[in-house]
Each structure stands twice: as structure tokens, then as C-alpha cells.
Symmetry: C2
Subunit: 269 residues, 2 copies
Amino acid sequence: MSTPPHPFDNAIALTPDGKSQFKGQPSEDYANMVGPFGGIIAATLLNAALSHTERLGEPVSLTVNFAAPIATAPYTVAARAVRTNRSTQHWIIELCQDDIALVTATAVFAVRRETWSSLEVTPPEARSSAEIEPMRGKGFPVWVKNYDMRFVCGGIFDGTTAGDSKSTVWLRDEPPRPLDFLSLAALSDAFFPRVFVKRQKMAPVGTITMTIYFHVDAALLEKQGTAEILATARAQRFRDGYFDQSAQLWGCDNELLVTTHQLVYYRDE
Amino acid sequence: MSTPPHPFDNAIALTPDGKSQFKGQPSEDYANMVGPFGGIIAATLLNAALSHTERLGEPVSLTVNFAAPIATAPYTVAARAVRTNRSTQHWIIELCQDDIALVTATAVFAVRRETWSSLEVTPPEARSSAEIEPMRGKGFPVWVKNYDMRFVCGGIFDGTTAGDSKSTVWLRDEPPRPLDFLSLAALSDAFFPRVFVKRQKMAPVGTITMTIYFHVDAALLEKQGTAEILATARAQRFRDGYFDQSAQLWGCDNELLVTTHQLVYYRDE
């Protein structure tokens, strides 16, 4: 008996359609309030560059811009290697429906070489995940069921905030799936909007742009296996319709896997 | 007698060359070790979208990817409005020499509306700029002379670091120039590489991608005038050839003008 593919792999699946273009479609498993979960789309755009025959090295950065909602219909993803240097490669990636771009992205891939290295930050304080109940509740968007989330602080409407926008949460794919660049891209967006946490109420929101810096290579990721990550996020400023979010994703052995940032649109009610 | 234009405005100047394309050329005033200062190029790409006849609103985010060095020769900048919604607009911008893309960017513009707002961070502690001597020294790249830099901490080879990568510095254009989105974009890159600060020695480096979130509108910027800003930056992780930098630019009255992030390539020697 073979194991059925993980819902994540189904959701980001792409079929080649010419040299630099792929076809795909939104997965019901990762539906959000409007259109698909942004993290699954970020992973899908990254998957186009990762799957391209001209791809060099591994992702070191990814910026995804959400220009318009994606309909429940097939889409194309075009990935263009704008520039390939000796050890770095720059990509422009666009997701279209009916030839209209709804999501754009730029990515940088690189072949890493060992150098002097240093970590300047420490993981957030956190009780062990075994001591925390996974988040349960009704009314969450569909995509949430694909993640095991255990809030250390800054949960959503559960009395665990300190009046600020900070959240720390144990996160992993549900069911467990070995960590790779694709799941890291999706996990980078698996935070509830900071404005919900800060104000402890819902509001109309949407990520308009997110940037992910990958601090790991495939060999280091392989060591993470299916272990949960410790994710922490906060806003710096909410002002007149836009707030920022900065987050860290920590793996086993105090490895800082990812630092990630986004700008999010919000309205008052 | 009319005032001659500021060197900054000369350096980012573009001449329309068709509906969505502009011509420009590197300015000797903003030369870096190899090619122009990245900040002036970020400002130039933003200028293309700002100058476009289809432009809606004001910049809220900008991501610039440095794919290859720019030669001392004319360039073209093409700005394409990928998507215009009711209150937001998404851009892809490319700088080319000989039809080869050397820099790519994505930007989001928006019409802001007043909402509930909140600031979650505080400015770094700093002595007043009047108490600090402007940085002087030989061997700096040409672009540095266009900025007045007064280091509160984390200066370069001056004994003001604490063993980490953090710098706090009073910054303004030299000669003074009223702050706008363009100068903010350049100021977002006006930090010395974190690896120089951390290790207190030079190394081969290059920013490969930077993202700027603008938390202000033109009306608020106008109030800043030519006042200096307080800029603070730090790295989170240096690993195998790449480090990140996160920074805040603070204006008068404790206004957080910009939060900005970049990923930088480095070698050991």
C-alpha cells in the first residue's frame, strides 16, 4: 500500500506547460476567507522556480505580492530566470488567471558556500509544545486545519495576549510532513493577522506583500524532519490601513530557519 | 539666482522614453565600490513608478533585487503597472543595460485612508546629533559624502560597537534636502554592511535584495522637512554567505517612517 500524497503537496502541485510555464489550481484544503491561503500560494510560486529546468542552487529569498484574489479555477504560473550568475540566480514569477496577473513574485536562489557564521538573536521563551493544547475552534478558515498550532502567547481570542501584537506559537503541518523550502514558505504566512491579536477582534485584512529570507540549506532542513517549529511574530506599526509584521521561524537545536516580513492591509470594521 | 538641483535629484533623474520606459544614467556623485550605491538605484526604480502617468496613490512597499553590477553607461528603466485596484496598485520595474536586466523591483502603491493606528516599538536611545561629530575618514566610497552620518553606536572601525551588529546613526542628506519617498528609499540602504560592524573588518559584500515598508504619507513627510532621521539596524543571522539586516528609520515626533529589511551576500575575505 502506498501512502497518499500530503494535502500540501496536492495543493502546490504544478504541471509543466512549456519551458517556463506551469498549470495548477487552488486546493479546497487550503481555502481562506477569500481565495486560497496566501502561504500556499507563496509555496506554489516558489515551486515553479524550484521545478524549472534552469534552476540553480536553493532559495535564499522570496518576495510575493498579492495583487488580486484568486478564483476557484485553474491558473498558470510563469517563472522567468532573469539573471543567472556564477552562484546566484534571480527570478520573476507571475500567477495568472485568464492572462491577468493576480500574484507576482521575485526570488533569489544561490549556491551556498561555508563561511564564518553567527547568530545574533535568541529563540523566544516557550513552554514545551506537549504542555499546550492544540488550538481548536469553529469559524476558522479551512486552511487552518492543515496546521497543528499551539500558542505560547498571543493566541486569538483566547486571553493569552499581553495587549500587544506579539504571538509565539508551536507550528507544524497536520498531518506531519518533513520540512522543506516549500513548507517553510507556507509556514512563513501561517500567522493570524497582527491586528486581530492586538485588538482581539476581527477586521477586514489582506497581506499585500511578503518577503522570506531562508537561512538554511537543504541538508540542514533534512535534519529538522517533521519536528514542529517555534514561530514568533510581531507588528511594529499600524497606520492608516497598513501594518507590518516581522517573524522568526526557529527549528530544532536553536536553528533560525527563516526571518520573514509582510505588509498587510486592514480596515477598521 | 536659482538654486542648482541637489545631487540626489540629478542622480535619480529619468527622461521619458515611451509610455512605460525611462532613460537615465549613473551619477558619479553616488558611486559605490562597484557600480552605483544601491540606495540611489532603489530610489531611481521607485522614481520610474512615481513618474508614470498611470500611477495611483503613494508607495507603501518596494522590493529591489540587485542581479548584476550596473556599468558606467546609460540605462533604461521600464515600469509596468501589473494591476490597479480601487485603492492599490502593483508594479514590476526593471533596470536594463543593453536589454539585459540588472535590477528588478516590485512595488505597491496605495491611497491611504485614516484608520485606528498604533505604534508598537520605541526609538532607540540616542544622544542628540549636535553632541556627535559627523563621521569623517578616508577610504569610504564616493556616495558616503552625500550623507551626514553621526554614529550613536555601531560605527565603523571607531570603537563604538558592543560586539554585535547593531548600529544607530543620525542621518540626513548632505547638503540638506526635504525628505520624500525617494530619499527615504535611498536612506533605507545607507547603512554599512552589518558584517563590517560585527567583525570590525572589511569583506566582499553585496546587497542582493531589499524591501522597504513606508509607514508615512506625503503630508506627514512634508512635516519632516530637512530634519535628520534616527536610523537603527541589526542583523539576525549570518550564515554561509548571506546575512539579513532589519532597520527602522525614525523621524521627528517619534514617527516611525520606514521599516526595511535586506539580505546581503558576504565572503570571508
